[in-house]
């Protein structure tokens, strides 16, 4: 886009600035739309669960325009800042909250290559930035000058910091499987039929997915883990003193972060933009078949990804309107006594599994005889069952299968470093390495 502007004799700096602003605007629009649709979904789903109709009139039959109407109403409300509040922090807290969530969208890929910033440490970056959201909540809770808000902030701090551990471990499990933290590559490695999804890779990842769900719900402060704003205990927790526009920002941040954790879950475990059936590659809509077809395929993939993310959000909404809230000690217990040990055990399990059965469950079931070379044979002899493009692209960066890749990199590294670390290797590691790599 910048090139286009330069070509019509716009100054260089202006062209780049405009292009950057447009892209930011696009991302912001995605973030806001996901929040708006999330709010609408919440209203409709909760209404259905409770035998109500929910919004029916605003903007046509299904109340489509209810979120903007809500927003308009809230913007028109009086903006109240309590006397006891720390004015500056009180004002900036909602924006911190929203900006942190918005920054996550920078690294969230929507389809193969459709990501604002493709980071090598994408998964890690996503977790790190999503964790910043609590900062806004804590500041808001503290700055409100209300005891209830302070309680909300303290709960948020305790809860989210605890849940970052199992959440991070869940991501590590997938990183071990794929051998990369690049989210686009993680998505591409799950291309093909649904049994290539990581959730179906082996029984351990299946368990890890549910741990991830728990932690994702907890880290985005949704019921039954919505303790920071527990309305029946803390009035409204950290939101107690907020009203109007600032409240909207917190609210949007919450829904956008729901979208993010659902999207991350879809990327890590549910195939990302790869549908259960590889329609795009069956129809010949891969980047290999031409730019236009590749673009259409990517568009389909994006729809797929967004559908998965909203399915995740619907699940969270469903949970919220069904379950009572946990108590703070139970929330922490769930994290430290259940989530962390389970995911640690699963981590070890996944390591062992991908060591012995690198191809995943389906490969292990269908080709038990060819162990342990099944992964190699599958990719080499039957490339047609997978979208070619994905394989070829990942091949170019030496990434076909997590284990194979890791093994190869390590092996090469080891080989090349042998003269230097010979003495080290002679202490007993060498044999292992050579055996496993052959």
């Amino acid at each position: 886009m910048a090139e286009l502007l330069i070509s019509i004799s716009t100054p260089d700096w202006l062209a780049h600035t405009i292009a950057a602003l447009v892209q930011c605007g696009l991302l912001l629009a995605i973030a806001l739309c996901s929040a708006a649709v999330g709010i609408w979904l919440e209203r409709k789903v909760s209404a259905r669960i409770q035998d109500r109709l929910g919004p029916t009139r605003v903007g046509g039959r299904f109340g489509w325009l209810q979120p903007p109407a809500d927003g308009l109403k809230l913007i028109c409300k009086e903006d109240i800042i309590p006397t006891a509040a720390d004015h500056i922090l009180f004002r900036i807290a909602p924006y911190i909250c929203f900006c942190a969530t918005f920054c996550v969208f920078l690294a969230l890929p929507f389809a193969n290559g459709w990501v604002a910033v493709e980071l090598n440490a994408g998964a890690f970056f996503l977790l790190a930035v999503a964790g910043l959201e609590i900062f806004g909540v804590i500041l808001g809770g503290y700055a409100s000058g209300s005891k209830w808000s302070l309680y909300g902030a303290m709960r948020e701090a305790a809860q989210v910091v605890s849940y970052e551990i199992p959440l991070g471990l869940c991501v590590v499990v997938v990183v071990i499987l794929t051998g990369t933290m690049n989210l686009v590559e993680i998505g591409n490695q799950q291309a093909g039929w649904f049994f290539n999804w990581h959730i179906f890779h082996d029984p351990f990842t299946f368990v890890v997915f549910w741990v991830y769900v728990t932690c994702a719900v907890a880290s985005s402060n949704r019921a039954p883990f919505d303790l920071p704003e527990a309305e029946s205990e803390l009035v409204a927790g950290f939101l107690t003193e907020y009203s109007g526009f600032r409240w909207v920002f917190f609210f949007m941040g919450e829904y956008a972060s729901m979208f993010v954790v659902s999207g991350l879950g879809a990327l890590l475990f549910l195939g990302g933009w790869n549908g259960p059936i590889p329609i795009a590659s069956l129809l010949g809509l891969t980047p290999d078949d031409g730019d236009v077809f590749g673009w259409i395929g990517n568009l389909l993939g994006m729809c797929n990804f967004i559908a998965k993310a909203f399915a995740g959000m619907t699940f969270m909404i469903w949970l919220r309107w069904t379950l009572p809230r946990l108590r703070i000690d139970q929330v922490i217990t769930t994290c430290l006594k259940y989530c962390v040990p389970i995911v640690s055990a699963m981590l070890a399990g996944v390591m062992l599994w991908s060591f012995f059965l690198p191809g995943g469950l389906i490969a292990a079931l269908t080709r038990p005889a060819s162990f342990p070379r099944s992964a190699w044979e599958r990719t080499d002899s039957k490339p047609d069952s997978f979208p070619r493009s994905a394989w070829e692209r990942t091949d170019s960066t030496l990434r076909v299968d997590g284990m194979r890749d890791n093994g190869r990199v390590q092996e090469e590294a080891w080989r090349r470093s042998l003269p230097a670390v010979r003495s080290h290797a002679e202490r007993g590691n060498e044999g292992d390495f050579q055996e496993e790599s052959r």
């Binding site: 909760s46 409770q50 035998d51 039954p224 205990e233 069904t322 009572p324 809230r325 946990l326 108590r327």
Partner: protein, 401 residues
């Protein structure tokens, strides 16, 4: 265990921080009105609880000294506004006791029907609010949906949806309209499966059990000491119900009815029923049992309503007309406690020969139930506070009078 907790004079903490005094209420979502509870907290742990009441005080007793007993009836609606029929009934029975009147069979059965229907409605509100206070909104909507049907029925017989003023001393304002009993039965028929849904949503829900089992345990002795009554008392294992154990004027109303008093005497509930069993974590007298007792009482009330409908149509005679507006009261006094949904509701009327009582005193069940709050809330977490408060099922209109 809870008693132990209460007796130990210190509460220990791993990480000790500053104590904080917090006003829970009078504007707080889970204090069920304008109750104000002052919490002394250390972190999330509540070390001391002091309820402050009186925000809804309307001089209900004093007003009664200016009005005739029939004129006063609408004021009883405003005591426990979630069970106005039972308040009416308590007042009516007390006045009848003072006047020495007895009502006809038909009136008696009609009273049983509406009183028990209102008990169902009140318990539904209690169950729904319990869910709400634990952070689950859906049970509230579901119970209110059912309560709404009961309220519709009441609207048909008396025109009001909240403050009925229907069961007057001496009789009722008017008989039920045609087909009303049929609609009652239709409601009960469709309500039967809904109870299972409510049990599925709350009673057997793992989180619900974790939040309520062994929380706010009220031992039977303490319950009796504090004058707790109703489901709160019965959930502590005391088998006591004025509909069965009360004064003759109360028990006569239920002559010929078969039903059970729900109380976990000896840790066991009286009857086999299709509802979820008691979870192993639950301790008799805890919040879970208070909820469960109400849920089971709903079923008993349904039996009573069905029997009442049968007996009403079989009964001879007419419905009684209420007493005159300016009916003279005899010299003397009458005190009567009746079993309202939230506990024993007592009215005392002192007559001096005129139509206006010389003195009226109201004994409210919620008032006594909430007085146990500081005892059972010592050392719980803030989140448990709302659970315990919800399990006591208070109504501020009745506490503050």
């Amino acid at each position: 265990m809870q008693a132990e907790r209460a007796q130990s004079d210190t509460v220990e903490f791993d990480v000790r921080t500053d104590e904080m005094l917090i006003n829970m209420g009078p504007q707080h979502p889970s204090t069920h009105g304008v109750l104000r509870v002052v919490l002394r907290t250390d972190g999330e742990v509540v070390s001391e609880v002091t309820p402050h009441i009186g925000y809804l005080h309307r001089s209900a007793e004093k007003i009664a000294e200016k009005l005739t007993v029939r004129q006063y009836l609408p004021y009883t609606d405003r005591l426990d506004y979630l069970a106005a029929m039972n308040m009416n009934l308590g007042w009516a029975l007390t006045v009848e006791k003072l006047l020495g009147q007895r009502v006809s069979e038909k009136t008696r059965h009609l009273r049983v029907i509406v009183a028990e229907l209102n008990r169902i409605a009140s318990h539904l509100v209690a169950a729904g609010c319990f869910g709400l206070d634990l952070g689950s909104f859906t049970p509230f909507m579901w119970t209110f949906r059912e309560r709404e049907k009961i309220v519709d029925l009441f609207e048909e017989i008396c025109g009001a949806r909240l403050t009925y003023s229907y069961l007057l001393p001496g009789g009722v304002t008017a008989g039920p309209p045609d087909g009303w009993f049929g609609r009652c039965e239709a409601f009960l028929d469709q309500f039967d499966p809904v109870i299972d849904e409510l049990h599925a949503l709350l009673t057997s829900n793992a989180i619900f059990i974790k939040r309520t089992a062994d929380i706010g345990v009220l031992p039977p002795e303490m319950a009796i000491d504090y004058g707790c009554t109703g489901p709160v008392l019965r959930a502590s294992g005391v088998d006591w119900d004025l509909r069965r154990d009360g004064e003759p004027i109360c028990t006569e109303m239920y002559d010929g009815y078969t039903w059970q008093v729900i109380a976990p005497t000896g840790g066991r509930y009286p009857d086999d029923h299709p509802y979820p069993p008691v979870p192993p974590e639950a301790v008799v007298g805890d919040s879970w049992h208070r909820f469960y007792v109400r849920m089971l009482e709903v079923v008993q009330s349904m039996y009573l309503v069905r029997q009442g409908i049968e007996k009403y149509s079989a009964a001879d005679g007419e419905l009684d007309k209420p007493i005159k507006i300016k009916e003279k009261l005899p010299k003397g006094e009458a005190y009567l406690e009746t079993e309202a949904p939230k506990g024993q509701m007592g009215f005392m009327i002192v007559g001096d020969g005129s139509a206006v009582p010389w003195r009226v005193r109201i004994r409210s069940s919620s008032f006594c139930n909430i007085s146990a709050l500081p005892e059972i809330c010592r050392g719980v977490l803030i989140a448990d506070m709302s659970a315990i408060l919800a399990s006591l099922d208070i109504v501020l209109g009745e506490i503050d009078r």
